[in-house]
Subunit: 237 residues, 2 copies
DNA sequence: AGAATAGTGTCTCTAAGACACTATATA
DNA sequence: TATATAGTGTCTTAGAGACACTATTCT
């Protein structure tokens, strides 16, 4: 079924009906063994058969864009965005981006903790995690560009929001949080300065009173604070 | 004419064709007499007849999204984005946002200098500038929300990019640049500290060697520098 | 005791904010 | 000379980066 808009959108405008296929694509990032990873699916049919692509699919008739992205994430990974973070990234609509016709894709960015439940066993045939540094060939469609934009968005948002916590489990140590920054930015940070910074920036993290039990001195466990923005920001060098 | 995508988008996906109307809407900002202003058009037909709305229209069949936004800007204002700035803002696709049917709008943000050529005389019947602080009723559709998002984007980008120069003519004084910050942020800034900051931040502005001729000591004229990002940023209090 | 990891204290340097002062034009 | 606007210098303070040191666990 196709919905048709009747009448001019506004006076002075033209009447071309602009019916276009709308999809959502997902840049799903997580951190595994200290490395930034992205979820990719292998294309089984043309175009770009055999290439890796971002997960995604068509927006349903009566479905919000963010809801569509959440549904696709669930279908492809078997996991909800609940413990992590999901936001709109950017919309890609260049006429030639899909050889089959005009498709506008509203890309979304998801940040997830490294969940114990693996991706396998979900609906998605070939969804798998790939270390960002080790992606072999070019991705299908313009997904390479979308992936780059998503990674850059994540890198930038770590600076001025507490979003690094989306990569962590509900309770985490300062060292784990620092590991997120190091993996996403591809740098190393001074553990002492980072600790001071993270614990003194208002609303970034709150102590739970609990401690870890591993080798070495036990680390205090923290939960995400209520700040939406970091004041002052945690800038990259 | 309607383009239809044949075949599944990718394996594992569903087959709903997701045909939706795609439009571009524009948040066009400028500064007039020291106040931040937005370009609005009055709706002559239902729905929302008589209400103010953002300019916009349908994306053409073989047209890029940014190009569509540029075209609408030209049609509504008679002016190109060339001297200013145009970027994608965000996409709005809530199912109920247009009572006539499913319409996904890719909103764009345009920042323009206060051009001597007025908006009148252009294609647009009722396009006019409105002081942001003095917009009477609610806007049509979800345009109030889009406008808020656009203004917030502009406010944020002044912090860490040299985008304030998009509101200025090609050559401008430091006092004019400061006026942009004050209008967009709705604050007052210390003229002396701002001068130091603007002239010492690498790549923000470059001197032309020219000077103004008005009352008082002549001010040096500057042009936009080649920096894409301000290091360090110029943060709001 | 020794290894391993967590967390604190201190110093230096950069940059922001407050504000007095100097500079150069017009009326 | 008065007025108006442009631009510089200085002081204080917040915060980032470098890095020595202390703390608390396990083996």
């Amino acid at each position: 079924m196709t919905i048709t808009v009747e009448g001019t959108y506004r006076q002075g405008g033209d009447n071309s009906v602009g019916q276009i296929s709308v999809t959502v694509d997902l840049v799903v990032l997580t951190i595994r063994q200290g490395e930034l990873c992205v979820l990719l699916v292998e294309r089984g049919i043309p175009p770009y058969q055999g290439r890796w692509a971002l997960p995604g699919g068509f927006v349903h008739e009566d479905e919000d864009l963010l809801a569509a992205a959440g549904r696709e994430l669930r279908e492809e990974t078997g996991l909800a965005a609940a413990p992590g973070h999901l936001e709109q990234l950017r919309t890609y609509g260049e006429p030639g981006r899909d050889p089959r016709g005009r498709v506008v894709s509203v890309a979304h960015l998801a940040l997830l903790p490294d969940l114990p439940a693996p991706v396998a066993g979900s609906d998605a045939a070939g969804a798998s995690w790939h270390r960002l540094a080790a992606i072999a060939g070019p991705l299908a469609f313009d997904h390479g560009r979308i992936l780059r934009d998503g990674v850059e968005r994540a890198r930038a948002k770590l600076e001025y929001t507490p979003l690094a916590t989306a990569f962590c489990p509900a309770e985490f140590t300062i060292a784990e949080l620092r590991g997120v920054y190091e993996a996403v930015w591809g740098t190393t940070l001074d553990a002492r300065n980072f600790h001071r910074k993270a614990t003194t920036t208002a609303g970034f993290v709150v102590s739970t009173g609990q401690r870890t039990q591993r080798v070495g001195r036990p680390a205090e466990l923290y939960r995400r604070g209520d700040a939406e923005v970091l004041h002052p920001p945690l800038l990259r060098a």
